[in-house]
Subunit: 78 residues, 2 copies
DNA sequence: CGTGTAAGGAATTCTGACACG
DNA sequence: CGTGTAAGGAATTCTGACACG
């Protein structure tokens, strides 16, 4: 499911991550949520799975810039 | 997908229905969303499909109490 | 670097009610 | 009956910043 309709609160419950962690991973270009017109992030179930993988990798010692190559199969800037 | 994580705003976009219609169908026991701790309704993709069907039936002239038998395969009160 | 937190604001959703018919 | 709307409140999410290290 790649339809982005899940708000960050639900993503926290599904992943066990905090809002802070999720926003940080987005800031580091590892995850690419959509936005509601009001500016709220919306994620897909696919994003939820990716977030879990990202966190696992981080815990394994990887850094965000190293994971960018792995997870950035999404929107490219430029 | 029966995981209930979609907020009513997104459901409106996915179904084309208004919040009022969705809440009314819930009031009439045709749909059974979960709730966040704060009280906000959460729906599943399955619920989204059911809502579309409900609305089609309503437009076909059916009444909510008639549809209850069709869609109430969910929680029963008492 | 990755994450926690307090701060203030804006968007989202909620309920109960009045309305039409 | 099914749906629209204005009303006021509560919960949710947002950003930028300071903190630790």
């Amino acid at each position: 499911m790649s339809i982005k309709v899940i708000r960050i609160g639900a993503v926290c419950e599904l992943t066990g991550l905090t809002e802070r962690q999720i926003r940080y991973y987005e800031e580091k270009q590892l995850i690419f949520p959509d936005r509601t017109r009001g500016g709220a992030r919306t994620f897909s179930f696919e994003d939820v799975d990716i977030l879990k993988e990202i966190h696992t990798k981080i815990q394994d010692g990887f850094h965000t810039f190293e994971l960018r190559k792995t997870f950035s199969r999404q929107p490219m800037r430029s």
